[in-house]
Subunit: 121 residues, 2 copies
């Protein structure tokens, strides 16, 4: 499976290449890592990537659903760069690992609205 770790072909990226990728903000501060991302089963449309940080060795982490469109891969930094101040993240929608949300439309609208984006579904 290691051959997939660097899989990153033109317009497409492999799912397991996204997971674990570091996320920075525009100031170069490390915000956390992408834990995983949520896909609409029927349409195959990615709705959120989940940024995780805090805690220790994955225990006690908080998870922040981010609209997929916020992620931009930066080859120089080797990670995603998002337009996001740490203060904005401080008040952002989040959940603890054991307390996952239902990801229904109300939740989705709230997440997109928080980041100033239209909820497209």
């Amino acid at each position: 499976m290691t051959q997939f770790a660097t899989e990153n072909h033109g317009d497409l990226i492999a799912s397991d290449r996204v997971e674990g990728t570091v996320v920075y903000n525009r100031q170069g501060e490390k915000l956390g890592k992408i834990a995983n991302f949520m896909v609409d089963k029927r349409s195959g449309q990615v709705r959120y990537a989940t940024l995780s940080f805090g805690g220790f060795m994955g225990i006690g982490n908080d998870y922040y659903p981010l609209p997929w469109s916020m992620l931009n891969y930066d080859t120089e930094q080797g990670g995603y760069v998002v337009e996001l101040d740490k203060q904005v993240l401080d008040a952002a929608p989040r959940y603890a690992g054991e307390d996952r949300p239902d990801y229904d439309d109300g939740y989705g609208r709230n997440v997109y609205q928080y980041y100033g984006l239209a909820y497209p579904w």
Copy 2:
């Protein structure tokens, strides 16, 4: 991270829940497992899920890109069920782990066409 392994909320599914899931055909034959899946970086649209089988302990596996829309999750079987005879898979587009395709539009059209589906991009 184990809390994500069973994450499967209504219309959405977690990326790491898809990876490793067993794939059966309508006859209940096990075809293989989903190794990973390919996402359009810009739009967040999933293009292919990669079915892997053959080989031993992941070495020498072949990889078969399947249009995402072919996958239907069956809660009873605990895996994806696809409308796919083993004979059809025998002649399907595939690649060895070390010989990945470019996943360009020509490749994509060929994959979708093989399974009798319109290439929507």
